[in-house]
Amino acid sequence: MEDLLTYLHLVVLPQMIDALVIGAALAIVALGLTMIFGLLDVINLAHGDLYMLGGYAAFTLIGWGAGYWGALVLVPLLVGAVGWGLEELGIRPLLPRADRAIVTLLLTFGVSLMLRDLAQVVWGTDTHSIAPPFGGMASFADVFVPTYRLFIFGVGFIAIVATWWLVYRTRVGAVLRATAVDPSMVASFGIPIRLVYGFTFMYGCGLAGLAGVLLSPIYAVFPTMGHDFLVMAFAVVIVGGMGSITGAVVAALLLSQVQGLASLWIPPVWAETLVYGLMLLVLVVRPSGLFNRIGEA
């Protein structure tokens, strides 16, 4: 009994805290994906590469002397701007097509390939590392957690709450939710739908950039970092429900716990496979995911 408590305390608990931190970052990326799908019917396969771009942009900005805090503010804006450009030039012309869900998926895949290769041209294939802005350990009850991880969780928490507030408690959010349900009705009220779409895409991509800055001191920066993270974020969005805000957050925290805890007992690579298996199971049992789409009660 004593042993079990010690095990839970010193092995399981730290793992759960770690998973919680990763879950918060995952939730930010998934929020962007799910908002974009909820409003535009677009599955953004370039989302992982925008996350990667966030990491690289932070690396460059810090190299130029902007400092970590400068990067933390500037990178989401930059990546958001890239997202806006992508929506304006690539997605918008395709939206009137009947099969827009499929063609935009193909388009963003092409963009994803281009971004990944472009990153290799600009930054090379080497792995770059970014120093965390502060070191140190926080401890409570004999459990030690790097302060920077707590910081990630804090920023992630703020971003999630801010997004929730934006979507459910502001006028802009009311427009977003209405657009998810019936864009032509919203347009007939004189609201510029193209701005709503552009804003959503920018906001979602900005969140991916933010996650890129936050996680790069832990995971380092390399060209394919987006791909693995994207697959995980997709698992989250599918389990939570495509286009669901609550679902993205709940599923991100849930799946990161599953992966974190499972890797205590089985090799980490199998833990990842387990998460995909879970995703497939949810798709089979309840294809629309656990929660409702944005704009629905």
């Binding site: 388009l107 963009v111 390939l113 290769d117 599918i238 497939l280 798709l283 294809p287």
Partner: protein
């Protein structure tokens, strides 16, 4: 809600002739195969075939092996087209069957038997069973969910192959022996010769292409097209879309498995990336470039892209960028691909002549 969304997306203007036709005529129209202008496609196909037949005399062994590779990719692309062009299902996981066939055949050559036909039969049955199960799961979900399930399944297979020591883990398996393929009593194909290998694969793919075209030209294919164009109306005509989609899915998996069956013999090794996203999506790209819904388009596209990649690859390592750019350009500006472009050009010429 999902259905409301779908109908909003599917809302297309009615074709002009719809008003003038009776119900019966409209039904016939709706069930007509999509490739009505077969003359152009037939010429295109014959020209391709002629080029393919004389190709070994024009090219060295490097390009011959590249051509074989493009034909194998062509099989996967053809399977994408059966699903996307005829049934309206976008599969982002056709590499699952390519990889599955490659791994099963490699394992059998290494540990069980050297008989090509026995291996081919086993692969075919295994792929049929697997695709039946996965298809039954995936088809229950439609649209983007289908794409995501197939994507996820291929990703899981790739991870499993990556993590299982017994089948080589991340290194894959090497040293796969090249068998002789007995054709008739006393006649066998020796795959050590590039010529024989090339013609064997070409003949196999041509047979598969003709077979696929024949099958899709029947009432079965017409129902598939009807499902693609308006899935909600098909049940009212007395057809259950589920079984038709499932059959198309199993058939597509068989076609993709042909590529995987031959691939280890060409390269002598298999690796987990055969299941990967890259193979699946490349198959979609080449179909898009060639022209979706044409069957010949994906083969043309795969030959063009494979050779283009090789040429670009000799100048720059950035072939992914080029691939992505081609993807974007075709999605945005040439959604019906090269074959569609040819159709449009010939239509312009015809109307100019008239």
């Amino acid at each position: 809600m999902l259905q409301a969304k779908a109908s909003r997306i599917d809302a297309k203007p009615l074709p002009k002739y719809a008003a003038r036709l009776s119900v019966g005529e409209r039904l016939v129209q709706a069930l007509k195969p999509s490739h009505s202008d077969t003359r152009l496609l037939r010429w295109c196909g014959l020209a391709m075939l002629a080029l393919a037949i004389i190709f070994p005399w024009l090219a060295g062994s490097f390009y011959m092996r590249l051509a074989i590779e493009s034909l194998l990719l062509g099989a996967v692309a053809l399977s994408v087209d059966i699903l996307l062009g005829y049934t309206g299902l976008l599969s982002l996981g056709q590499a699952a069957y390519f990889g599955l066939a490659a791994y099963i055949s490699s394992l059998m050559y290494l540990h069980v038997t050297q008989s090509f036909w026995l291996v081919a039969l086993t692969v075919s049955v295994a792929v049929a069973v697997f695709s039946f199960i996965l298809g039954a799961i995936a088809i229950r979900a439609s649209g983007v969910y289908f794409a995501l399930i197939t994507f996820g399944a291929a990703e899981i297979l790739s991870k499993i192959a990556h993590n299982t020591r017994a089948i080589g883990g991340s290194d894959g398996m090497i040293g796969i022996p090249v068998p002789r393929i007995p054709l008739l009593p006393g006649v066998a194909i020796d795959l050590h010769s590039n010529f024989a290998f090339y013609y064997a694969v070409l003949a196999g793919l041509v047979l598969i292409y003709l077979g696929t075209r024949r099958v899709l030209n029947t009432a079965f294919g017409s129902v598939l097209c009807a499902i693609r164009d308006n899935a909600e109306r098909v049940p009212y005509l007395g057809y259950n879309p589920f079984w038709y989609k499932l059959l198309a899915y199993v058939m597509a998996a068989q076609v993709a498995a042909f590529g995987g069956l031959i691939y280890p013999l060409l390269r002598g090794f298999v690796a987990p990336n055969l299941f990967g996203f890259e193979v699946s999506t490349k198959a979609v790209v080449v179909s898009l470039v060639g022209g979706i819904g044409t069957l010949i388009g994906p083969l043309v596209g795969s030959v063009i892209i494979t050779f283009l990649e090789s040429v670009v690859g000799s100048y720059t390592e950035r072939h992914l960028f080029v691939l992505g750019l081609i993807f974007v350009v075709f999605v945005m500006f040439l959604p019906d691909g090269l074959v569609g472009l040819m159709r449009r050009l010939s239509a312009v010429r015809r109307s100019a002549n008239a």
